[in-house]
């Protein structure tokens, strides 16, 4: 009875339901308008637009082969997008991932060339990535006064610095035949990297939306202190998420190195920006607590096909830089557009209340 009243009250005052900002919450009546005002539909529209423009540029774009093979060229950084989404849902940002990719790739290459079997070198790479992420997490947990900006900024310098110390400005490669199959090979006509990407997307999506851990992420993004006092082990969660971020950066390092055939300390420069841009474009609020897995997945393909199309149109790489930078800013700004006091995209309505929350864990 009380719940019924509350529901009516909410409807009258058009107060969004509590929760992670998911629009299709059970407490809201179904409405087609609200359904189509979800951010993801905008992304679908943009993706369709990109595909249409691409196929206008090149008559060879619109076929099954392109859709299956092209993603292999941009999916390597997509693996970081999912854990970065977790980090951003927590209300934090990790700008050290590009350096983590470089460090783990360099250590993998050097250890292989020093005589380690390839399998062990790959394991070492994953270990280095996870350790790099764990160090970030440890610093954030042990020195709670420090902001994530300064911690990940300094490890960003240090990780790439170590990569330079190990390899100078030389390149290291000469991997065995089979290693390049990771990025170039395919299983039954589908590229291996695409399969790996789908597995990653599904598992991260399940963890985020179907587990207690995932719910805790959203809760922490809204009010970390309240979570702490409600008995959620916020330190452990923070640590896990950052370690996961480092681990997936190492996965990216493996696929990137496999695609390039060799590595050097300056690889993956600026990956952090592209990854954060994809997450923000995917509708994940940079103030924490809001986001769904579908958005970033669509955003990965938007940015990827956009870059591919700009390559088709013979635009220089610098213009791609401008476009991605603008995309990041515009996608953050788009959520702040208001019409007569109402936000255009309602799925984000809780972000407004989360804006001034305490960042302290």
């Amino acid at each position: 009875m009380v719940a019924e009243e509350e529901k009516r009250e909410r409807k009258k005052r058009s107060v969004p339901p509590p929760g992670d900002g998911t629009l299709l919450s059970t407490t809201m009546p179904w409405s087609w308008k609200d359904f189509f005002l979800q951010w993801e539909w905008m992304l679908v529209a943009v993706l369709s637009l990109v595909i249409v423009v691409n196929s206008l540029i090149s008559p060879f774009f619109l076929n099954w082969h392109t859709f299956i093979r092209t993603p292999a060229s941009f999916l390597d950084k997509a693996f970081i997008v999912f854990p970065m989404m977790f980090v951003i849902i927590l209300g934090k940002i990790d700008i050290s991932v590009g350096s983590t990719v470089a460090l783990s790739a360099v250590i993998m290459a050097v250890s292989y060339n020093a005589g380690l079997p390839m399998g062990l070198a790959i394991l070492l790479c994953l270990g280095v990535g996870a350790a790099a992420g764990a160090i970030n997490g440890f610093l954030l947990v042990a020195f709670r006064e420090l902001s994530f900006v300064i911690v990940t900024l300094s490890t960003m310098i240090i990780y790439r610095g170590i990569a330079y110390i190990i390899l100078g400005n030389r390149a290291s490669g000469g991997f065995p035949e089979g290693f390049s199959l990771l990025a170039w090979g395919s299983l039954g006509g589908v590229p291996i990297i695409l399969i790996a990407f789908v597995i990653a997307a599904v598992s991260f999506g399940l963890v985020l939306h179907k587990t207690v851990f995932g719910r805790a992420l959203f809760a922490m993004g809204h009010n970390a202190r309240a979570c702490r006092h409600s008995g959620i082990n916020t330190d452990l969660i923070l640590w896990t998420v950052f370690t996961l971020n480092g681990l997936m950066a190492a996965v990216t390092a493996i696929f990137l190195t496999s695609r390039m055939g060799s590595t050097r300390p300056n690889v993956a420069m600026g990956y952090e920006l592209e990854v954060i841009a994809m997450v923000a474009l995917g509708g994940v609020s940079t103030s924490g607590g809001v986001g769904r897995i579908g958005g970033p997945v669509l955003a990965i393909f938007i940015v990827g096909f956009l870059g591919y199309g700009m390559g088709l149109a013979n635009l220089q790489a610098p213009i791609v830089l401008v476009v991605i930078g603008t995309l990041l800013i515009v996608s953050v700004l788009a959520h702040k557009i208001r019409f007569q006091g109402f936000k255009l995209f309602r799925a984000r309505s809780t972000a407004a209340t989360a804006g001034e929350k305490n960042q302290e864990v």
Binding site: I93, I95, L139, F143, E145, L146, S147, V149, I150, V151, L153, S154, T155, M156, I157, I158, R160, G161, I162, Y164, I165, G168, N169, P265, G270, E272, L273, I276, A277, A280, T286, S287, Q316, A317, P318, I319, V320, L321, V322, V323, I324, G325, T326, L328, I329, V332, L333, K336, G355
Partner: protein, 329 residues
């Protein structure tokens, strides 16, 4: 009382940094006697001047709880625009060239300031985006080409190589910037208001300070200084390239943090900033002198920054604990 304590604490911090620097200098001097010579010290200061100018702006940004990762790109863009102008019209007087670069930088800073202050975009997001946009623009306007030494007029190159009263122009400009900053921060209402906004934004806003306008101002100052630095950079190295000053923002932030500027806002002094800047200058200058590969520089700088930040936290915790213990119950 609390304020007094903090001041003392800050002095102690700077003394510690000074002590560490002295030890470092002695150690370097023992390894290579060429370090403490007039010639090398002059080149050290000349090479640190641009960093010092940028650190002033970055300190103000950090004081307001922001961060600016776009300045490396602003330097490149301002430098490129200015050198293209100089290459096209060699008759441009140096002062006009400096003005042009500063204006380009100010414009870039205003965009960042607008994003951060007007639309509440997180500073790290806004400047990460602008970093790429400005870098891309630099490549686009130059068409991917360099502007080299022979295309620049002598009067332009003399901006960085000339001397006033026997002192290199860069050092003179940095000193002037420091003097103006000292006056602005400590003796103007605007300067104090910036610190007030940084140490407690809510209180500052409630007291009627124009918080948003102050934040806009801070990023505009940062942009202008980066534009100025861009002109100086291009004049100094006599070449403007698309990848000029890539990643330089990290060094600038490192100098601020070493100098005791808190990334949580409200805290930062010119004396500390000066020490932090010189410290980074010494590291950059001394590594080749003691036969350390230049590839170690990045790692060492990062390590020093992290160490400085962690020491800060531990010292502060210790002081707080002592203060608690001393409290009369």
């Amino acid at each position: 009382m609390a304020k007094h304590n903090w001041q003392w604490n800050e002095n102690l911090r700077e003394l510690g940094l000074l002590l560490f620097m002295a030890i470092l200098v002695v150690a370097i001097q023992i390894r290579n006697p060429a370090f403490l010579t007039a010639g090398n010290l002059t080149s050290l200061l000349t090479n640190t001047a641009i960093l010092a100018i940028l650190a002033l702006g970055m300190m103000l940004v950090l004081v307001t709880r922001g961060i600016d990762l776009s300045i490396g790109s602003t330097i490149a863009l301002a430098g490129m625009v200015t050198s293209l102008a100089v290459a096209r019209y060699p008759g441009i007087p140096p002062v006009a060239a400096i003005g042009l670069g500063t204006a380009v930088g100010a414009l870039a800073g205003m965009v960042v300031g607008l994003l951060v202050s007007r639309w509440d975009v997180l500073p790290i997001i806004a400047t990460l985006g602008m970093m790429n946009v400005l870098r891309g623009l630099t490549y686009v306007i130059s068409g991917g080409r360099w502007v080299s030494s022979y295309q620049m007029s002598d009067s332009f190159k003399r901006i960085a190589t000339g001397r006033i009263l026997g002192v290199n122009n860069l050092i003179v400009i940095a000193l002037l910037a420091y003097l103006v900053a000292a006056w602005f921060i400590n003796h103007t209402r605007l300067g104090r208001q910036i610190y007030a906004v940084g140490s407690n934004p809510e209180a500052a806003e409630v007291s009627g300070l124009p918080k948003r306008r102050l934040i806009f101002l801070v990023y505009t100052i940062m942009g202008s200084l980066a534009g100025l630095a861009g002109v100086l950079w291009v004049a100094k190295f006599a070449s403007a390239q698309g990848d000029t000053a890539t990643g330089y923002e990290l060094q600038v932030i490192a100098a601020c943090i070493l100098g005791g500027v808190s990334i949580n806002g409200g805290v930062g002094r010119l004396t500390g900033l000066f020490l932090g800047t010189v410290m980074l200058g010494i590291i950059a200058n001394a590594l080749p002198l003691i036969n350390v590969s230049p590839f170690w520089q990045m790692g060492i700088q990062g390590g020093v920054v992290l160490a400085a930040v962690l020491t800060n936290v531990m010292v502060r915790r210790n002081t707080e604990r002592t203060a608690l213990r001393r409290r009369v119950i």
